[in-house]
Subunit: 348 residues, 2 copies
DNA sequence: AATTGGCAGTCAGAGGAATCGAGTGCCAGC
DNA sequence: GCTGGCACTCGATTCCTCTGACTGCCAATT
């Protein structure tokens, strides 16, 4: 009798196949699956009684459980976990699907549009809520800095990086700033910062004030500060979401309400933390299932992958849905989209 | 016996007060309200039987209806409409609430942030889904145009308007463009366009190509085209949303599912159309109730107001929820927020 | 040792009957 | 025009039974 690789447990190979069958059937039907249903729908070549024995084993290992005494079985979080871990080799998407991804994303008109499209695409490929994290600035370089006077004491700073990221910010100056001063400041900032790595922005911008008349220095420092905040705050901040309607559609899979789940998504902080914690497996995808997550998401599963922006920076994207989701399809879709986005952003 | 102003109908003033009581109680309790409940909770000084007579009238006018033969009454869409129209004088928000709005919005760091904060604020003030439309460019002027070469044949255009709006876009050039050419183009574009109204961008940018060598003209035209698209496509496009969780919370108020409602919101097109159709009343707010809306929103109500950006441009904002909502509070909140946003954006 | 058929036991869910009670419409009398 | 009173309606609730899809266990079989 074969054993699983992972030491202690005493679960036969056939039992693992039974688990797989249970997960698949349950995901497809939302009905607890019984021994007879398994015998009918899968070719195990053994009787229902034998399956029942295996199921008893699986239950002992807490991979499945029965909602009530005389009902079929449902996978536990642990059961899904084992199922997902077994899913080592994701079947790639069909050529048609891959083409659809490419065709849709290639229409993107700018960076923001890439993310907006990606999140909609993911949502429609998986029928789940999709999430895309904006990329961290990473080791990007400064391309250009623009200062736009909005009023005598208000200035808009626009910060453009190598990778095409544009960031704007409004600042209030301590003194009135005329066009000449702004022009001079703009020129000096660009001379000093253009091409520099983001990490250097703080020190370089901070040392500029010496080049100005004493009564201007305070204003220069305020601007330098704003630039530093561009770099700081946008290190790994925003999350875009699409497909919230899908969460409502799958509401019955949440014993509680979907309300706290949606709230957690809108809060962003929980999800950003979760994204940062996820360790990708060898396939470049990863899933967090049920109670592996924070309380608010204890009935949800999150599938993520990472994308990069030509070395410049990287971030995560993924989908969120009920634990009863089609992991195989969703993991394949998330991986494919992440790869395509990386390719799209990486091409120089 | 007093009559309503609006001609034909035969509804007494007291009957209108009964309608008000029904709307208020129903909104508060989600239970059909009966004649006895009204006598108990409001001081009408008449008996339940009298109220019943009034209710029979109201039912005849289709302002209320009974879910089933022997139950209390529920306002119809038409009933809500009359109720809202009666609500001529919105009580302003409390000083505390107004301060909270100011304090929260004043922290905004840039334009995007203003909208992000506004939408969250509205959502939490009303406990409904909040929507903010990005402002149309209107009669804004060009402040600055920046060209950022991303690769020999890719260029990012950054378009900055008077009002602080920043727009970026990636374009593919037909030929390789060196730094010198890009610099020249940038200078000429800014010289020609800076300070011009957006409406002029098309003609002015289109006539620039004569100033360049013949082998450059195609590239110049591509850039001019991109600038034109900045103006065109961002005329009144995006919608930001917050508080989707609130829709789920009020799910029981939707006989069907909230699914189509959420879908319509994510689609944006329905909402943008609706926003553009709304005629504001003398108070600067407006409501669309139930079947007054598109099919997908036939169980929803939308309350909107407009905000402006110092003459530069204007757009709508508002909240969406079940027809069974607190119109009085929500209309007051929407109006107050729209006014504050206008003030914030208008101050030069 | 693994597998099997058989059988008793369990329990959620469906269906149906009985009851309750909030609320109505109507009418005669004030 | 308002009121009290009365008969009536019907959704919701409760309680019942019945059904059927399961399981667990055991003794027989390979």
């Amino acid at each position: 009798m074969a054993r699983t690789r992972k030491g202690a447990t005493m679960v036969s190979d056939r039992a693992l196949h039974v688990l797989r069958a249970i997960v698949q059937d349950y995901v497809a039907s939302r009905e607890p699956v019984g021994s007879k249903a398994i015998v009918d729908r899968h070719q195990f070549g053994v009787s229902a009684a034998t399956i029942r024995n295996d199921m008893a084993l699986l239950e002992e290992e807490e991979l499945i459980s029965a909602p009530h005494t005389s009902s079929g079985r449902v996978p536990t979080d642990k059961g899904y976990r084992v199922f997902v871990d077994q899913l080592a080799d994701l079947r790639p998407l069909s050529a048609g699907q891959r083409q659809a991804i490419a065709a849709f994303l290639d229409q993107s008109v700018d960076l923001d549009d890439v993310f907006a499209r990606t999140v909609r695409l993911l949502s429609s490929l998986t029928n789940q809520v999709a999430l895309v994290q904006y990329p961290t600035l990473g080791n990007a370089r400064v391309r250009h800095i623009e200062l736009v006077p909005m009023s005598p004491t208000r200035l808009m700073t626009v910060f453009i990086t190598d990778g095409g990221r544009v960031d704007q910010r409004m600042i209030e100056l301590p003194v009135e700033a005329d066009e000449v001063f702004v022009g001079e400041l703009r020129a000096k900032l660009n001379a000093a910062l253009s091409g520099r790595a983001l990490a250097e922005v703080g020190t370089v911008a901070g040392s500029l004030d010496g080049q100005f008349a004493p009564d201007r220095r305070e204003a220069v420092r305020v601007v330098a500060d704003a630039l530093l905040r561009h770099v700081d705050e946008h290190r790994s901040d925003r999350l875009v979401m699409a497909g919230a309607a899908n969460l409502v559609r799958t509401e019955q899979d949440f014993a509680g309400s979907v309300y706290p789940v949606l709230e957690a998504i809108e809060e962003q902080v929980t999800l950003l933390k979760l994204f940062s914690e996820m360790q990708l497996d060898s396939q470049g995808v990863s899933a967090r299932i049920g109670r592996e997550n924070d309380e608010a998401l204890h009935e949800a599963a999150v599938v993520t992958s990472a994308y990069s922006m030509g070395g410049d920076s990287s971030a995560k994207l993924g989908v969120l849905g009920p634990t009863r989701m089609d992991y195989s399809n969703n993991m394949a879709a998330v991986r494919a989209v992440a790869r395509y986005v990386s390719r799209l952003l990486g091409e120089e």
